[in-house]
């Protein structure tokens, strides 16, 4: 089963390698990984999408918690949360089909961020399903290039993502 795991880490030397290496060394799979600073500059949030049965996920979480620079680990899968991903997609355009593409962009509430007589770069955010549907729609026009971030996730409500079982407020470190 697919799990989305939020990992709050200290922004210390080598922390990404420690987390990523744990997954590769123990044979766990990473479907997507994002990392960046949070509201606190000394703390980063990693969001990892992985797959495994209940036993594997339990081990992943326990092993992550053993890393000295890992502050909090939360499997968001069972909590009410929002997932987002961003895609930048460069497609061929012509005078003839530009209007059609603008229609699709409008329908999906995407954005055109670069336009030349023969190409267009579209920015779109959303859930994985939405992005995939969008990509399939523009594919026939000819995709020159596609880049996407990994998945981000945040818990709903007034509690911090890493403290979904705690009272409201920022993460209690």
């Amino acid at each position: 089963m697919r799990h989305i795991i939020s990992i709050l880490v200290e922004d210390k030397f080598g922390v990404l390698a420690r987390v990523a290496g744990l997954f590769s060394g123990r044979g766990y799979n990473i479907e997507s990984l994002t990392v960046n600073v949070t509201e606190r500059p000394e703390v980063s949030m990693m969001t990892i999408v992985t797959r495994g049965d209940e036993h594997v996920i339990e081990q992943i979480i326990k092993q992550l918690r053993k890393l000295v620079n890992v502050l909090k680990v939360r499997d968001l899968t069972s909590f009410n949360h929002i997932e987002r991903e961003l895609v930048l997609i460069k497609v061929f355009v012509s005078q003839k089909n530009r209007g059609d593409l603008y229609n699709i962009v409008g329908t999906f509430r995407a954005k055109v961020v670069d336009l030349t007589p023969e190409s267009m770069v579209i920015e779109i955010t959303g859930s994985q399903d939405k992005l995939e549907a969008f990509v399939e729609l523009v594919r026939p026009y000819g995709i020159i290039e596609l880049v996407r971030t990994g998945r981000l996730a945040i818990g709903r409500g007034a509690r911090a993502t890493s403290d979904m079982d705690k009272p409201k407020g920022p993460a209690n470190l």
């Binding site: 030397f13 080598g14 390698a17 290496g21 744990l22 326990k62 918690r65 000295v68 470190l173």
Partner: protein, 569 residues
């Protein structure tokens, strides 16, 4: 010790932090990146042991740590010095040995440029350390060293590596003593939860065939043995151990059954097979201990006490987890035990205890003695006799290791020093050296083979230089015995490259190092050689026991089989 507030160099800070952490010696080999630090050492009273290979230094620090419970410290220069430590670090990691490893690194501004003797040792060792640091500013050094010692010895112990560039050793800063350790992401849970402990006792109350199963984690928890003796004997529960758990419950006490697993004794394996409740303490349930997992403890409910939550339910599903330090949790068990009023002497429990002990009597470890050729088991038995069962035993890996475990009975924790997890050949001699340096009051024997001893034979030189009187007993069968045994049993005796026909004259080799060399070629000479060795205390003694060549280790659980499918002989 230097006062806080003094201006010190990185090298001086390292030494101060070691002293503050109670580490009064290091096993270290110099090199380019460490030249400045070695100049600092010149004026220091810190004890420095120069191994003859960095790997020997790492194993010696490991042996020292296992024998004393203190943090072992080893050090090597950048590049090849550091990579030579890797096997030693991995060995310590697998067996949860507290160690601080300091590596020299090239000058900060050369890092990443493939400089002379540059290696990314933090990257190389990342999967085999508990934690690691690269110190790029001398201002961070004191805090880093303080954290490194703290992390190495607390929680589930393990090796911590600190990589220090050459210029950081030389740079000066105001020494602040390192401050208090505050690590948000590292707060091991050592106490144990009373509710879980009560659950465990409730389950024990209803058990008819209970077993206590201890591992290396119990040995590592100082003071746990006393609490275990109280618990096991007042609750009338038989005690088995993993290979690493030996010594955690004294083998001369009434509830001792033996150690289980691939070459463990029949009674221990059967006890776990037939038990209806197992209290596992500080053990990892590795493949060598459990055999085929779906047959392991199939009839039992399991409680598991461990300081590492990730060890619980990793390989075997646990019904009652208790996270905490073995000693603390056992003390809590002993405290609550009077609240549970079960009949520990009920017919069921008495019958079970007798049954387990009967298995032991029926099928103990055994071998066929010969008066023509020396049986390796006889050598180990004789070492036991000559040392009164009191010696610290370090082993290599393979047959010698198994016989050292089968025919020496361990009476106290930290008595058996052996690479259980990693199974590192070449570990025995340097580990024995480290153990003897840590416990000069003890007789220390290295039980090794003719293969393993050659892997770090250069440490004899170190032992001679520092007058470390270890006794090295080589069970010499001119074979890589354990692999040969597998070739015999599983590959139709096709002995590919396991036959060590070409080997040095170990007596002359020992003498050339300045050790005493002795040899026994007949069973009647074994005791004499051992007795002779006991008279020599100022030098290592190397004993070449010319043994039966194709002796096998039994019992044996074939790989992939259940522990009840042992080959007895």
């Amino acid at each position: 010790m230097k006062a806080s507030g003094e201006m010190l160099s990185g090298g001086e800070i390292l030494i101060e932090c070691m002293k503050k952490a109670g580490a009064d010696l290091m096993f270290s080999y110099p090199g380019g990146s460490l030249t400045g630090f070695y100049d600092t050492l010149f004026d220091s009273d810190l004890r420095h042991i120069l191994p003859r290979h960095e790997q020997g230094g790492a194993h010696a620090a490991d042996g020292y740590a296992r024998a004393t419970g203190k943090v072992g410290v080893c050090m090597a220069t950048s590049g090849p010095g550091a990579t030579n430590l890797v096997t030693g670090i991995g060995t310590a990691y697998m067996d949860s040995v507290p160690m601080v490893i300091v590596t020299g690194q090239v000058v900060t501004n050369l890092i990443g440029g493939d400089a002379f003797q540059e290696a990314d040792i933090v990257g190389i060792t990342r999967p085999i350390v508990k934690h690691s640091y690269l110190v790029t500013d001398v201002k961070d050094l004191a805090r880093t060293m303080t954290e490194a010692f703290h992390i190495a010895k607390t929680g589930r112990p393990g090796p911590v590596l600190v990589d220090i560039p050459k210029d950081v050793f030389a740079a000066r800063t105001k020494y602040d003593g390192g401050g208090e350790v505050s690590l948000l992401g590292y707060q091991p849970n050592v106490e144990g939860h009373p509710m879980q402990v009560k659950k465990l006792l409730k389950a024990l109350e209803g058990a008819k065939r209970p077993v206590i199963y201890i591992g290396g984690g119990l040995v590592a928890s100082d003071g746990a043995t006393e609490e275990l003796i109280k618990f096991a004997e007042s609750a009338n529960v038989p005690v088995v151990s993993s290979f690493m758990g030996q010594g955690g419950y004294p083998a001369d006490r009434p509830n001792w059954v033996g150690w289980l697993g691939m070459h463990g004794n029949y009674a221990s394996n059967m006890a776990v097979m037939e038990a209806d409740f197992i209290v596992a303490i500080g053990t990892r349930f590795t493949d060598r201990s459990t055999g085929r997992l779906d047959r392991f403890a199939a009839k039992a409910k399991l409680a598991h006490i461990d300081i590492d939550p990730a060890s619980i339910s990793k390989n075997v599903r646990i019904d009652i987890p208790v996270v905490g330090d073995a000693k603390n949790v056992l003390a809590m068990i002993n405290k609550y035990m009077p609240d549970f009023k079960w009949d520990k002497n009920s017919a069921d429990r008495e019958g079970w205890f007798k049954q387990v002990m009967a298995w032991n009597k029926d099928k103990p470890f055994s071998y066929v003695y010969s008066d023509k050729v020396i049986k390796p088991q006889y050598v180990v038995e004789s070492i036991y006799d000559v040392t009164g069962g009191e010696a610290v035993i370090a082993t290599d890996v393979g047959q010698n290791q198994m016989w050292a475990a089968q025919f020496y009975k361990y009476k106290y924790p930290r008595q058996l020093i052996s690479s259980g997890g990693m199974g590192t050949m070449g570990y025995g001699l340097p580990a024995a050296m480290g153990a003897k340096i840590g416990r000069p009051d003890k007789e220390v024997f290295c039980i090794t083979g003719d293969g393993g001893v050659l892997m770090n034979i250069q440490e004899l030189c170190t032992c001679v230089q520092y007058r470390v009187g270890v006794k090295v007993a080589i069970l010499n069968n001119r074979f890589l015995g354990m692999v040969r045994q597998w070739q015999q049993l599983m590959f139709n005796k096709r002995y590919t490259d396991t036959c060590l026909e070409c080997q040095p004259d170990f007596v002359k080799l020992a003498e050339s190092f300045g050790c005493v060399g002795l040899r026994a070629s007949k069973p009647s000479e074994v005791k004499d050689v051992l007795t002779e060795s006991m008279k020599i205390t100022d030098r290592p003694v190397v004993m070449d026991f010319v043994c039966a060549r194709e002796e096998n280790v039994y019992p044996m659980v074939p790989p992939g089989a259940g522990n009840d499918e042992m080959i007895i002989r």
